[in-house]
Symmetry: C2
Subunit: 234 residues, 2 copies
DNA sequence: CCCTTGCAAAGATCAGATCATTTGCGGCAG
DNA sequence: CTGCCGCAAATGATCTGATCTTTGCAAGGG
């Protein structure tokens, strides 16, 4: 997902962001801009600019005579790609992936349904080709290439939904899929049923069958959840 | 939803944000910090800080020797509460509400299902009370009080899901509900069926019946969509 | 035409200063 | 003792001037 700015601004922002996410800077903690500038050996504007961004993310609040107070997590803008990034890079990676997975259970079937109404001919082609690639690479046990095809499939589907908010979830899905593949939560050979279901989604989309697309997508997600439970030895 | 900072920073940020959203500053357009500072009659750091926030929202990119370029909308972080706010306050209010409604179709049934697993006793009480309030105020035709109870219901349900991302959607739902009430898209007396369905969700949640909660929530949303189509004369 | 070099434009950062707001403390009055 | 008011100090908000860094563009040469 997102990376932040190069330069001092970006590094101070990332450093503070990570400390917030790891509770090194716990809610209620008060810093001053002066102290931040000193600690990171940067000038005050650099500290200010980083704090401005964190403020816009609901993570801190600035008050005169008080300083910069860390806000409760319930105020944080949890959809911010920077925050998602920091959480994924922190000890709470699993928790973030779980949250994202639960969220995905909601939005992706709806995206499939909307895609069945709105997909372009080209998008239908890309979906069909990606499903085919998944079959080929799944058979060959090439998990990395399977992942690539899987990501292309979902990104295209989310774009085909014609809703910019759903489309922007492509990064989330990519993280979930990559997380599964890269943390040994993926069977050595993907379940053929999963591949069939992807194909079923692609078919339903090009046939304009909303209900079928949605149902198949739901099954894909349920299958992935079961497969992950198996890999976790539950 | 969110309001931005007081002071010059907040006003410059809002002004620029609105101009971006309304395409007054169209993608590809290039500004300089110098020009922004001059135009808004503020010092350079104020302009810089506003641009920093817009940058972190994916709306602009700064390059030396070029200036500040407006990025394509596909780069914008569409879940940012500030951006949602600006869009809702702009001529594209309807489009934003539609996007949010489509999104809601995805996440709220999942929230209901998770709430059935995770709700506290107190949350169950609040849900029951809110559903009761909706009945009372709906009967009396007091749409404003009905809206309040409706918002409390959904906010509580989203919190009961125990997923911080779903919980943060409470603002979205409130906007959708308020948008309906305040733009004459709400029948003068709410459909008793809608109220029954809210009660069904509340019941399913306290009984821990995930599937029933999810199904009833789905019906609530579908009913709301039909009701809105009726009001729009479709 | 392509590559290299140099210059200038504009962001990034630093430093110093002033202004504005708010909080905390002390003193006074009831 | 408690509450209210005033003042000073703390810290963010903003301004101004300067320097550093990066990079885009133009010109020249092969």
């Amino acid at each position: 997902m997102t990376a932040s700015s190069p330069g001092l601004h970006g590094s101070v922002l990332d450093a503070l962001g990570m400390r917030l996410v790891t509770d090194d800077l716990a809610p209620g903690r008060v810093l001053t801009l002066e102290a931040i500038a000193r600690e990171y050996a940067v000038s005050r504007p650099v500290a200010r600019e980083a704090i401005r961004v964190l403020q816009s993310m609901g993570m801190v609040a600035s008050r005169r005579r008080v300083g910069v107070t860390v806000l409760p997590r319930s105020d944080w803008h949890v959809f911010d790609p920077l925050l998602i990034r920091w959480r994924l890079d922190s000890p709470e990676r699993s928790a973030q992936l779980l949250s994202l997975s639960e969220l995905r259970r909601g939005f992706e079937p709806v995206a499939a349904s909307l895609a069945a109404e709105r997909a372009t001919a080209e998008q239908c082609s890309v979906l069909a080709a990606a499903a085919s690639d998944m079959l080929v690479h799944g058979r060959a046990g090439d998990l990395e290439a399977y992942l690539d095809a899987d990501v292309v499939f979902h990104r295209t589907l989310l774009a085909a939904a014609g809703n910019e908010m759903l489309r922007s979830m492509a990064g989330v899905v990519a993280e979930i899929l990559a997380g599964r593949t890269h943390h040994g939560l993926m069977p050595s050979r993907p379940n053929p049923r999963a591949i069939e279901l992807h194909d079923a989604v692609a078919r339903a989309v090009r046939e304009g069958d909303c209900a079928a697309a949605e149902a198949a997508m739901r099954e894909i997600i349920d299958e992935a959840a079961s497969a992950m439970r198996v890999e976790l030895g539950e």
